[in-house]
Structures are given as structure tokens and as C-alpha cells.
């Protein structure tokens, strides 16, 4: 089984070396690909120094466009499983094994959830309310309960890779992609993970953007719910 770890990174030169160390310590066998979303710091240099494959985008695309580049790469190079790990150090690579295991068992999208089990960094109270709202919205529309729809720590099967390489939201992609996956009758599951607060730098969602975020993602989820299903031929 070929496994690819996709790390979207925008100005993460400070966080990447630590992440690379942790990835090397993992017992799972995988390739690592960093998508450098046109950073203005040494992100690319840091990757080259650590001998990690890096795709440097010539213009900034935002998280969605960067991650999708990774899925396109995974599709073209015949990877069976793709794992998405944030470049900011919030995701602990030790859980990759768990996520991958679920995909091997036949799941199509496995989400690392902060809200199963307990412990770890769980984000602010306001954000948790937002997360619970999306969780409710998705359950209302599909009947499936996802505890952590905003988690960017996730593993995908070949089927999901194909779906994402074809169509992936540009910004705030996570909740919307869960809807896409469920809409196309792929299987979703969650495993408990603990996350850490960011080591360096700031989160991408500021207070002012929160309202725009809620409205945009709500609309995106509803539109996805009434979109046509994607039809892929057999490989």
C-alpha cells in the first residue's frame, strides 16, 4: 500500500522541522509531500534541507487549493491512501497509523476527532459551538453523525482521493468535503485524537471572519447536499 502524507504549509518554516522529526519517528511507511502555498519565508528551503518532497505553488491558492494539489499528486502517482496533516504542528503524527488502519479496513474518509474520548487541545468555547452547529447541520441533512467536522487531520481512500482531486472547496474546506463524501455514498469514520495548540504563528480564522465563515460554509454544505453526484468510471 502506497501512503502519502500531504502537508499544506503557508509560512510554516518554524513548525516544519519538528513535524518532520516526528514523522520520521513513525513506524508507518509513507512518503511525505509538502505543498508550499507561496510562502514568503523559508518553508521550501526547510523542506529541501530535510530531503522532503515539496511542491511550491507559483501563487497563493489558500488551504483548499493547496491541499487539492496534494490529492492531484496522490492520484497521479498511484497512492492508495492519502493522509492530510496540518503544517502548524497541531496534529500529532503518532495518530497517522490509526487513521490509515481505518482506511485499510474499508473506510473512505477517516477523520481525527478531538471530541471522541477526552483530553488534548479542544479550541475555544465559541469555536466548539460552531463545530457543534456544523455537526448538527450535517446530521440533519444526511443522518450521519460526525463529531469533528472541522478537523483537518484525516485520511482518504483511493476513492476519496479521486473525488477530492476532481473537486475541492477553495477556502474553509473541511465541513464541506464531509458533505461531498457522504453525498457520494462513501464511508466516513472517526478516530479519537488529541490535538495541540499551535506552536508558532497564528490560526487562519480571525474573529471578524467567523461570521463570514459560518454563512459561507453553511451555504456550501447545503449546495453540496443538493448537487449532482460525481460519477467516476472504474479504474
Amino acid at each position: 500500500m502506497k501512503i502519502l502524507v500531504i502537508i499544506p504549509a503557508y509560512n510554516e518554516a518554524g513548525n516544519l522541522p519538528g513535524l518532520f522529526e516526528e514523522l520520521k519517528a513513525s513506524e508507518e511507511n509513507f512518503d511525505v509531500l509538502v505543498i508550499n502555498d507561496c510562502s514568503n519565508d523559508d518553508t521550501e528551503k526547510v523542506c529541501r534541507k530535510n530531503n522532503v518532497k515539496v511542491i511550491s505553488l507559483p501563487a497563493n491558492l489558500g488551504i483548499g487549493g493547496a491541499v487539492q494539489t496534494g490529492y492531484k499528486y496522490a492520484l497521479r502517482h498511484g497512492y492508495d491512501i492519502a493522509v492530510q496533516v496540518d503544517g502548524d504542528g497541531q496534529h500529532d503524527p503518532r495518530y497517522i497509523k490509526l487513521l490509515v488502519q481505518k482506511i485499510k479496513e474499508g473506510c473512505d474518509l477517516c477523520i481525527g476527532s478531538r471530541f471522541i474520548g477526552n483530553g488534548g487541545f479542544r479550541s475555544s468555547k465559541a469555536r466548539r459551538m460552531g463545530i457543534r452547529y456544523f455537526s448538527w447541520l450535517i446530521e440533519f441533512l444526511t443522518g450521519k453523525h460526525v463529531t469533528d467536522p472541522t478537523s483537518g487531520f484525516r485520511a482518504c481512500s483511493r476513492k476519496a482521493i479521486r473525488l477530492f482531486a476532481d473537486d475541492y472547496p477553495k477556502d474553509y474546506p473541511e465541513p464541506e468535503t464531509i458533505m461531498t463524501v457522504l453525498r457520494n455514498n462513501l464511508r466516513i469514520c472517526e478516530v479519537p485524537v488529541t490535538m495541540r495548540p499551535r506552536a508558532n504563528g497564528n490560526s487562519s480564522i480571525s474573529c471578524i471572519k467567523a461570521i463570514y465563515y459560518m454563512i459561507k460554509v453553511t451555504l456550501a454544505i447545503i449546495i453540496t447536499a443538493i448537487s449532482r453526484k460525481v460519477v467516476h468510471g472504474n479504474e
Partner: protein, 117 residues
């Protein structure tokens, strides 16, 4: 509107100039025909309305609008909305195409580099 007011003369001159300007942009390929079509129609209808204001009176009567000038505003606002919407559609399509190009370029760059090794 008085049939020979100076305003009418200005309108005729301005609308004809605007029409010629659009045609010239097309001639020199600065404007793509696809997006220019609606402007050609808009500018030519300005010319028609300036030369024959009766057309506007007729439109107002048909739509049961009391003042012809309100019929004019209605038509212009409708046209502008149409143009703006067409532009939004064009921008959305361009955004997707540009995103795909950027991704493709990134993937190709990586392939080139790993081919060198």
C-alpha cells in the same frame, strides 16, 4: 424631451462616439467579441434612443410607465445588472482555470526537479 434641445444633440454625439469606441476596441482586438456583444447592443441602443426618442416613449407606453425617463432608468439598470452578472460568471470561471493552472505548474515543477535527480 424637446425634439431639438441641445441635450439631445449631446446625447447623439456621445452615444455615437461610445459606439465607435467599442467598435474600435473590437477592431484592435482589445475586447473579446464574446464579452463585447452586450456592449455593442447597449451602445447601439443608446444611439437609437438619442436619434429617435419616440422609441423610448413607445417602450414607456407598452410597459405602462408614466414618465419615459423612468422607462429609460429601468432599461439601463436591468442592462447593468445583466452585464455585472455576466462578469461575475466570467470571473468565477477564470478563478477555477487559474487555480488549475497554478496547481498544474506546481506539480510539473516538482516532476522536473525529481527527474533531474
Amino acid at each position: 424631451m424637446a425634439m431639438n434641445s441641445p441635450l439631445r444633440t449631446y446625447l447623439i454625439i456621445a452615444s455615437v462616439l461610445f459606439f465607435l469606441f467599442i467598435v474600435n476596441m473590437l477592431r484592435t482586438r482589445k475586447l473579446e467579441l464574446k464579452y463585447a456583444l452586450i456592449w455593442v447592443m447597449t451602445s447601439s441602443s443608446f444611439v437609437v434612443m438619442a436619434v429617435f426618442p419616440e422609441t423610448l416613449f413607445f417602450v414607456a407606453r407598452v410597459l405602462h410607465i408614466e414618465l419615459p425617463v423612468n422607462a429609460l432608468f429601468l432599461c439601463v439598470i436591468f442592462l447593468l445588472l445583466l452585464i455585472v452578472f455576466a462578469l461575475t460568471v466570467a470571473v468565477s470561471r477564470q478563478a477555477t482555470r487559474i487555480k488549475n493552472l497554478i496547481q498544474e505548474l506546481g506539480l510539473l515543477k516538482e516532476e522536473l526537479k525529481s527527474g533531474d535527480k
